[in-house]
């Protein structure tokens, strides 16, 4: 049976992935909307930029985040002013999870929003709704299943995050050691039984996420 410390690792991983998803969701939504529904200049650039974490080694993405959040990075001064330090906390792991899963969320949401008949959005505008109101009252409600499916996919990806996490959050048991890090550590020290218990956790979460994803997309047709 898993020990309570081992359950804590599961809970920490769930929290990291959930917070990462919650942070990534609104950002992903806006990017997906811009890609699916506007003809703004620089779309190709935005598309490329947001796709990077999908194709880069996560370690590289993690290093970029490390530079961003480091003491001398663009967000270092802000942290100092607020008296907080993000690096090597569970929150850094959540940011890493959110960043790495962002491209997956954006892809899924973009497809969902592109599937909303643009004439419905135009109809809404002739009734006095501006672009933002149309987004909130027409686009998102009609694409919500695809949006949720994207979030679930992002959450599952966040649960498995390893490379970027170890760079920005380290591998501190009880603080930043998530499931993949715990599996890696236990395999390294030869505690295969513990590793297998963590692997079972991972399998269970992944399976649940995939089933949820499938169910949402099956009902996504309006």
């Amino acid at each position: 049976m898993p020990t309570s410390e081992e359950f804590d690792v599961l809970l920490l991983s769930l929290r990291v992935a959930a917070v990462g998803t919650v942070i990534g969701l609104p950002i992903g939504l806006l990017i997906a909307w811009a890609l699916a529904k506007t003809s703004m200049p620089g779309k190709v650039l935005l598309d490329t930029l947001v796709s990077f974490p999908l194709v880069l080694p996560p370690v590289v993405t993690g290093y970029a985040l490390l530079l961003l959040l480091g003491r001398n990075g663009p967000l270092g001064g802000l942290q100092e002013d607020l008296g907080v330090e993000i690096l090597f906390t569970w929150f850094a792991a959540a940011l890493a999870a959110g960043l790495v899963s962002l491209p997956l969320m954006v892809r899924s949401m973009e497809v969902a929003m592109a599937g909303v008949d643009p004439r419905l959005e135009l109809a809404a505008r002739t009734m006095g709704a501006n672009r933002w109101k149309v987004f909130i009252t027409v686009t998102v409600p009609l694409a919500y299943r695809g949006i949720l499916a994207g979030a679930v996919l992002g959450f599952a990806r966040g649960m498995g995050e390893f490379g970027a996490t170890i760079i920005v959050a380290g591998n501190i048991p009880g603080h930043t050691q998530t499931l993949p890090l715990a599996i890696f550590t236990n395999l390294q020290i030869g505690d295969d039984d513990a590793a297998v218990r963590f692997i079972v956790f991972s399998l269970a979460v992944a399976l649940a996420a995939l089933l949820a994803h499938r169910w949402m997309l099956k009902r996504a047709v309006v």
Partner: protein
């Protein structure tokens, strides 16, 4: 016929098509008539702000909607600031909202001091009460279009655009919606622009008709006159010529399986319909089903014989389109040989013979 309220003076080019208009429309119901691809929908889209003209200017009640100019001086108001209502061909109701929320969508987004349409009144006029809590995918085509009309009107637009709203409907629903459309117009006073390629709808609904062909205006005239103009005749498809007549039920005759209805000056016998006496009805008479006689026919089985005066004869394709005035204008289609042997000329007296079974009731 009201004063000019909409100035359209613009140009829009596509690869193989250019729309160029310079016209002022009067408040009232204007029909835009023309074959597919003549620029009817593009015109509506330019007015609504969905399509941007290449150049020109558009003004609604002297308020600029679009004005081409250089980078800094041009105007192109977004659709939500134009106060232009739009009823689309297939209704385009929001599928995630109930009928009630659909109707209130635009109303809620209209500033209080500009709201002059009451949603309750619209629901009553368009007989939508029983549908209010239904989802759009459970509605019939006719119900959807009535909801779409209420939804667009509830936003208190300054002009309402209708893009072939009846095109996707079955025959029996068209009459009722046409009557309701007129009633809503008379009640609200909001000018309407109604795009159609059905001549009979245009004639029964509009106060002026703008005819487009290949991106150009070819006529702007009354619904009585536009049909007879030389550039319009080639656009007429004789196979689909019909006359719509609006009237009221007068009596039922169960022994002969007919219903008698009155159409302002004459009565017609129709196949029995399930309507109360005095109920309004609209019927369609196909031009090919109207027979002409030079003298009062005798010993005829047809119930309906109307005395009329020929007001116009127009050559349409291989046939002759006869416009006969029997109190209301009725279109008939005859061969050139028949027209000659009857000696038809404008002013000739004729008798129109209509079989009851050839009259289609549109509800």
């Amino acid at each position: 016929m009201g004063e000019a309220f909409l100035n359209l003076q613009f140009r829009k080019s596509y690869d193989d098509f250019t729309l160029e208009l310079d016209v002022s429309l009067s408040a009232g119901i204007t029909a835009i008539f023309g074959p597919s691809g003549s620029g009817k929908s593009t015109t509506l889209n330019c007015i609504a702000g969905i399509t941007k003209p290449d150049s020109g200017n558009l003004e609604l009640w002297n308020r600029p909607l679009f004005l081409s100019g250089n980078l800094f001086r041009g105007i192109n108001r977004p659709p939500e600031k134009r106060r232009v209502g739009y009823v689309f061909q297939d209704g385009l109701l929001f599928p995630h909202l109930r009928v009630r929320e659909n109707i209130l969508y635009g109303y809620k987004r209209t500033p209080k001091n500009r709201r002059h349409m009451r949603p309750n009144k619209l629901v009553e006029m368009l007989e939508l009460e029983p549908l209010l809590y239904r989802m759009p995918n459970t509605l019939s085509g006719g119900e959807r279009q009535r909801v779409a009309l209420a939804r667009a009107m509830a936003a208190s637009p300054e002009v309402l655009l209708l893009d072939e709203p009846l095109a996707s409907l079955d025959m029996p629903f068209r009459g009722r919606i046409l009557r309701q459309l007129k009633a809503v117009h008379h009640d609200s006073g909001i000018p309407m622009i109604y795009v159609s390629h059905t001549i009979s709808e245009v004639m029964v609904l509009a106060e002026q008709v703008l005819v487009l062909a290949d991106g150009k205006q070819v006529a702007l005239d009354t619904p009585q006159n536009f049909l007879h103009q030389t550039p319009v005749l080639p656009l007429v498809d004789p196979a689909h010529l019909e006359t719509l007549l609006e009237g009221r039920v007068v009596a039922h005759h169960p022994e002969s399986g007919t219903t008698e209805a009155e159409f302002g000056g004459f009565t017609l016998w129709l196949p029995t319909i399930d309507r109360d006496i005095r109920d309004p009805i609209t019927v369609s008479v196909a031009a090919s089903n109207v027979m002409l006689a030079a003298e009062a026919p005798v010993g005829l089985s047809a119930r309906n014989v109307l005395k009329a005066t020929v007001s116009a004869l127009d050559r349409v394709g291989e046939t002759v389109m006869v416009t006969a005035d029997a109190g209301r204008s009725i279109l008939a289609e005859v061969t050139p040989e028949a027209a000659a042997s009857l000696g038809l000329q404008p002013g000739s007296e004729v008798y129109l013979v209509l079989k009851a079974s050839s009259i289609v009731v549109l509800g």
